[in-house]
Subunit: 602 residues, 2 copies
C-alpha cells in the first residue's frame, strides 16, 4: 500500500500515526537480530517502516533483501531508500524491480552521502547527478506504481535568506517532478521545523510532510548525530541533559520527555502533521519509551489484521486462510507455497490445489545450532526425559523445541497446565490453541481484526504419540461426537473420523459490515504435506546426537514408531472438553503399564 | 442426488428414512395448493418425493413442470415416473431431457395403466411395449445419469406358483437390464410382503426394495384403492375398521395405528428394509399422523441444510450464499439469476458479477388477485391506515403484504412487538431478522445445518420511510458504530456508512469439521437490483386502486417519495440494540409533528 494513502486515511480519521526507520546491519547475526527486532517492534504499531540504502554499495543487496523479508515474511509495509551514490542506472533499476516484485510501493529518493573516503559528493559513471534525476527516472519508468518521497531539511531555516530561498526552490522543482511526500531530517528545535513548514508551504509545496524524530538514547549518540548534521540543539535541551550526561538512563529518561514534548507541539501546531517518523537507530527502547510517553498505542487492526502475519508481496496480499500446522513455522509455509498461482481468499481449497512444494525444495532445518540444541535439550535417554522437555516447554521453562522456534504464545499459556499434564501422560504436543467463544476483537490475548468484532477458536491439539496410547485415546475420542481427528504415521497412512469434504475452520472472526473471516483451518491434504516436515524435524533432532548414542536411539525410535495426530474439539463453548479424552486414555495407559510391569516383575 | 446413494448412506448409518409420492392435480389452483403442500410437507423430512406420470398424456407436461418446481424452487430431490402408455419415443426423450436439465436423477420406469377408455394395455405407434424396453432405452441413451426404479408387486404372492414364478422371472429380466431399486405397490399384509421379498431375493434379485405404504385416510378411499388393485386386506384390518367405517376420524385414527404397526414389522423383519415410501394421495394429514405414530422425526440437516431453500438444479447445487433482500420472494431471485454462469459458493461476489436479470425479463407481480388484494388490504387513505396494515402484518393478523406472500416466519415472531412498534412510528418494514448469538443448529426456531453446530444472525431491518424521519434516524444510527446501513431512493441514489469492500454476512453457522457457512449476506449491488423490485411492488399496489382515488394517491405518493433502507446491527449479542435508534428517531418525529401542528394551528 502506498504511504500517501495511509497518510490520507489518517488525516480523514484524524488519527496520529508513526513509522520506524532502520538501517542494514553489518553482520549476518546482526541481520537476524534486527529482523527479530523489527518483528517485535511491529507490535508497537508503526504504519510502515523504512530501510536506508547503504551508500557504500557493499550492503545494497542487503537493503533489497530486508525489504523482501519485511514485506513478505514480517508482513509490514516497507519504504526503501535509494541513493545516487555509487549507483549506475542499472543498479537502480535492479533495486526498483526487486522492490516492485516484493510488493514494496514506496521509495525515498536521495542523492545520498559522498562515497566512502571522499569529502565531496560525485556522480558515478552512468549514474544520476541530482536527486531530481532519480525522481524523474522512477516516474518515467514506473509510472504511478511507486510513491516517491524526498528528504526535507528544516535546518535550512538557519541558512542565510538567499541560500534558504535557493534550497526551497530546488526542493519545489524536485517535488514537481513527481514526489508524493517529504520525510524531514532530524531536528530538535520545534520552532525551526514549524517555520520551515510554513516557508515551504508559502512556496507552493502542498504534499504531506512527515517529521523525522530521533529519540535521545545516550549523550554521546545525541552529540554525534547533531554535530554530524549540524542540527540546532535548543538551550533547554542542553540545560536538561548536560548535568546528567554520564548517566545513560537519566539521559534517556529526560530525553524522552523532551522529545515527547516536541512531538506534542508538532501535532498541536495546526500545520496538518498527523504522522511521526522515528529514527530508531536499530534500537528498541528509546522509540518504545517515546511512544509510551506520548500515549500512542497501536490500534488492534494495525498490528493484527489476521491472527497470523500476512505477507505483503503482490500475489499473497489476498491470502486470508492458512492451515494451522505451520503456525510455529511460518517461514517454511511461505517457502513451500511460494510458487502457488493464487492463494486462498475466503475459502481454502476451492480455487487452488494445495500443491505444496517438496521438502527438499526449501529445506527443513532445526533453527538452533548443534551446540545451542544440546545446551537447550540436553541428552534425554528415556521417554520420561523426553516428555519432561515437552512439559518444560509448555510451562515456558524451555524456550524452544525442534518444532517451535519460540516459547509458547500468550494465548497458549491459558492452557499451559493442561498441556503440561497431557505431555506428562505421553502425548508430546507440538502445536495447540485453546477454545475461544467470541472474545472481543480488541482482546489483548486473543484479539485480531477490525474493531467491534468477535473472534472464535476451536480447541486444537497436535502431538506425537505411541500406538498403544493412541488406540486408547481414539476409543475415548469416539465417544464425543464433537471431536474430529486426523492420525498419520511416517509412512503416510492416514486415518480420520472427519468425512466432510472441505476443511475445518478452527479460527474465525465476525466483524461489522464484513463476511466471516476464517483465517486458520485444519485440512487433510495440508496435514499430509506437513507431516513430512514434522517427522523430518524429529529425525534431525536425533541426528544431532552421536551415532548409536542412547539419546539418538530414543528420539529416532520415538519418531519412527509414533503417530502424528491432530484433534479438533468442534464445540468451542467448553475450553476443557478437548482434554478429557486425553486424561482418561492417559490414566488407562498408566494402569496398563503398571499391570505389565507387575506381570513382568512376577 | 441419486436415490440409491441415499439408500446406501442410510443403510450405512442404520437410519430409517421415508419418501412421499404425489400425483399431478387436475386444476391450476390444485397445482398451486399441491406445491404449497409439498413445500410444507418437506418439513416432515422426506428424503425425496416422487411425482406420478399421468397416463392420459394430458397432464404429462405437468409432471415435468412439477419436477422442475420441486427440484429448483422447493429444493427437494425428486423422482419422476415415466410410463409407456400413449408415449411415443420422442415424448419419452423430451421428458427425460427435461428431467436431466432440472437436475432430476431418478426415474421410475413403468408400463403404466391401459389408455383412458380401454380395458387392455396397448402400445402406441413408435412407443414401447414393455417396461423393460423403457429401462433399456434409458440405460442405452443416458448411461448412468439416471437411477432407474421399477415397480414390484408383493400381491403376486397370492398368484398360483407358476404365475408367481413367471412374474419373478420377468422382474429379474427387467432388473438385469439396469435397474437400481424397486418401489413396491401398496399392501397391508405384512407377511405377504416379507415372503415376496424373500422369494425375489431367492431368485437372485439383490437391489434395494422400498415398500410402498398407503396411509388409511377414509373407509371409502381404503376400499376403493384395495379393490382396484386387488390388494389383500388382513382380517385384523377389517375387524378394526369396519365397526367405525362411518366415522372418518376414527378410521384415520385406527388406520394409522394399524399401518404403523405394519411399518414397524417391516423395519424389524431383518430383510434389510430401512425406507418407507408413502403414497400420500396428495393429502397431508394421514402421512403426518403415521410418521408421528412411528415416532419418525426429521433430522434437522435433512430439512434445512441452509436457512433458505436450496435449488437442486445442476448448476445451482453449489450455491451457498444469497442476498437477504429476496428472503420473502425466492422465486423472483431464482428467476432473476437463472442465467448466471456460476452461483456463489462460500463467498459472495468474488467469482461472479451479480448480473441480475432485468426487471422486465421475469416480471414483478403481486401474488394476490385484485379482488383478494382489496379484501386483504382495504382502502387505506392516510399514512396511519397504511402503517396500521404493516402493524397488523407484523402481529400476524394480516396474512400477506405486497412484499411478502406469506405471514411472518416463526423466527420473526420473536421480534413481532418491536417490529409493530417501529411500523407504528412510520418505518414500514418489508423484511427483518432478529439477532441470534449462537443457537444450537437443531434449535426449533433458528436452527439449520448439520448436528452439533451453532447458528448466528445479525439483526436486520429493511423498510420504507419518509425523508424527514429518515434523517432523524440516520443521526441516531451514526451514534452507534455497530450499525451499518444502505439508503436508496427510487431513482437509485445510494448512501451507506459501510465502506468495506465486500458483503456483510448476516447469517452464518459453525459446524463440526467444516468451514464457516455464511448463507445470507447484505451487499450494495444486490440491494440496488432489489430496490427496483421493491419500489415496483409498491407501484403495483397503488395501481390496484381506481385512478386518482385517495388510496391510489396515498400509496403512489408514499412509494415515490420514500427511501428504501436496510440496517444491520453488527453486534449480534444484543437483540434489542437495533431498535433503539428507531424508537428515539420516532419519538423526535412525533415531537416535531406535534410542534408543526401546533404552529399551523396557531
Amino acid at each position: 500500500m502506498k504511504i500517501s494513502q495511509k497518510i490520507q486515511q489518517s488525516s480523514k480519521d484524524d488519527k496520529v500515526w508513526w513509522s520506524f526507520e532502520y538501517f542494514p546491519p553489518r553482520t549476518a547475526q546482526g541481520l537476524q537480530n534486527l529482523l527479530d527486532r523489527i518483528e517485535r517492534m511491529r507490535a508497537l504499531g508503526p504504519e510502515f517502516i523504512d530501510i536506508t540504502w547503504n551508500a557504500g554499495g557493499r550492503t545494497s543487496d542487503l537493503t533489497s533483501e530486508m525489504v523482501k523479508t519485511c514485506q513478505g515474511l514480517i508482513g509490514i509495509e516497507t519504504c526503501m531508500h535509494l541513493t545516487c551514490t555509487n549507483m549506475p542506472k542499472e543498479k537502480v533499476d535492479i533495486a526498483l524491480k526487486d522492490a516492485k516484485q516484493h510488493g514494496c510501493r514506496n521509495v525515498l529518493a536521495l542523492r545520498g552521502d559522498p562515497p566512502m573516503g571522499k569529502d565531496e559528493w560525485e556522480a558515478v559513471d552512468g549514474g544520476f547527478v541530482h536527486g531530481i534525476d532519480l525522481v524523474k527516472h522512477i516516474r518515467k519508468n514506473y509510472g504511478d506504481y511507486f510513491d516517491i518521497a524526498v528528504a526535507g531539511f528544516p535546518q535550512h531555516m538557519s541558512l542565510p535568506p538567499e541560500d534558504l530561498a535557493n534550497e526551497i526552490r530546488w526542493l519545489k522543482e524536485k517535488i514537481d517532478a513527481g514526489v508524493n511526500f517529504i520525510f524531514t531530517q532530524m531536528f530538535y528545535d520545534v520552532d525551526l521545523f514549524i517555520n520551515w513548514v510554513k516557508a515551504i508551504r508559502a512556496a507552493g509545496i502542498t504534499i504531506p510532510i512527515v517529521p523525522g524524530i530521533a529519540p535521545i538514547q545516550t549523550w554521546n549518540g545525541f552529540q554525534r548525530a547533531t554535530s554530524l548534521a549540524k542540527i540546532t540543539i535548543p538551550q533547554s535541551f542542553r540545560d536538561a541533559l548536560e548535568p546528567v550526561q554520564n548517566n545513560d538512563e537519566k539521559v534517556r529518561e529526560i530525553g524522552t520527555k523532551l522529545v515527547a514534548d516536541m512531538c506534542r507541539k508538532i501535532l498541536d501546531a495546526d500545520i496538518g502533521v498527523r504522522g511521526l517518523h522515528f529514527y530508531t537507530m536499530n534500537l528498541e527502547k528509546g522509540t518504545k519509551m517515546l511512544l509510551e510517553e506520548l500515549n500512542l498505542v497501536p490500534r488492534i487492526e494495525t498490528i493484527k489484521p489476521l491472527p497470523w502475519r500476512q505477507s505483503l508481496t503482490p500475489n499473497r496480499r489476498q491470502e486470508t486462510i492458512r492451515p494451522i500446522f505451520w503456525a510455529n513455522r511460518t517461514k517454511s509455509y511461505i517457502s513451500r507455497t511460494e510458487n502457488w498461482d493464487e492463494y486462498p481468499n475466503g475459502r481454502f481449497g476451492d480455487s487452488r490445489s494445495p500443491a505444496y512444494g517438496e521438502l527438499d525444495g526449501y529445506g527443513v532445518w532445526i533453527k538452533q545450532t548443534k551446540e545451542d540444541a544440546l545446551k537447550l535439550w540436553g541428552h534425554p535417554e528415556t521417554m520420561a526425559d523426553l516428555s519432561a522437555l515437552f512439559v518444560k516447554f509448555c510451562m515456558s521453562e524451555l524456550k524452544a523445541l525442534p518444532w517451535s522456534d519460540q516459547a509458547p504464545s500468550i494465548e497458549t499459556s491459558v492452557i499451559a497446565k493442561q498441556l503440561a499434564q497431557i505431555n506428562e501422560l505421553g502425548f508430546l504436543t507440538i502445536n495447540s490453541q485453546p477454545a475461544v467463544n467470541g472474545a472481543r476483537s480488541d482482546d489483548k490475548v486473543f484479539g485480531w481484526g477490525p474493531s467491534n468484532g468477535y473472534v472464535y477458536q476451536k480447541a486444537y491439539l497436535e502431538f506425537f504419540v505411541n500406538p498403544t496410547l493412541l488406540s486408547l485415546l481414539i476409543t475415548q475420542i469416539e465417544r464425543d461426537s464433537n471431536i474430529t481427528y486426523y492420525v498419520i504415521n511416517r509412512r503416510g497412512d492416514l486415518r480420520t473420523n472427519n468425512h466432510s469434504d472441505g476443511p475445518n475452520a478452527v479460527t474465525w472472526g465476525v466483524f461489522p459490515g464484513k463476511e466471516i473471516v476464517q483465517p486458520t483451518i485444519v485440512e487433510a491434504v495440508s496435514f499430509m504435506a506437513w507431516k513430512d516436515e514434522a517427522f523430518e524435524l524429529g529425525a534431525q533432532w536425533a541426528k544431532l546426537y552421536e551415532h548409536d548414542s542412547p539419546s539418538q536411539k530414543l528420539i529416532s525410535d520415538f519418531v519412527e514408531t509414533s503417530y502424528l495426530v491432530n484433534v479438533v474439539h468442534n464445540d468451542f463453548h467448553d475450553p476443557d472438553a478437548i482434554f478429557k479424552p486425553f486424561y482418561k486414555a492417559g490414566a488407562e495407559y498408566l494402569a496398563l503399564k503398571s499391570k505389565t510391569t507387575a506381570v513382568n516383575g512376577h
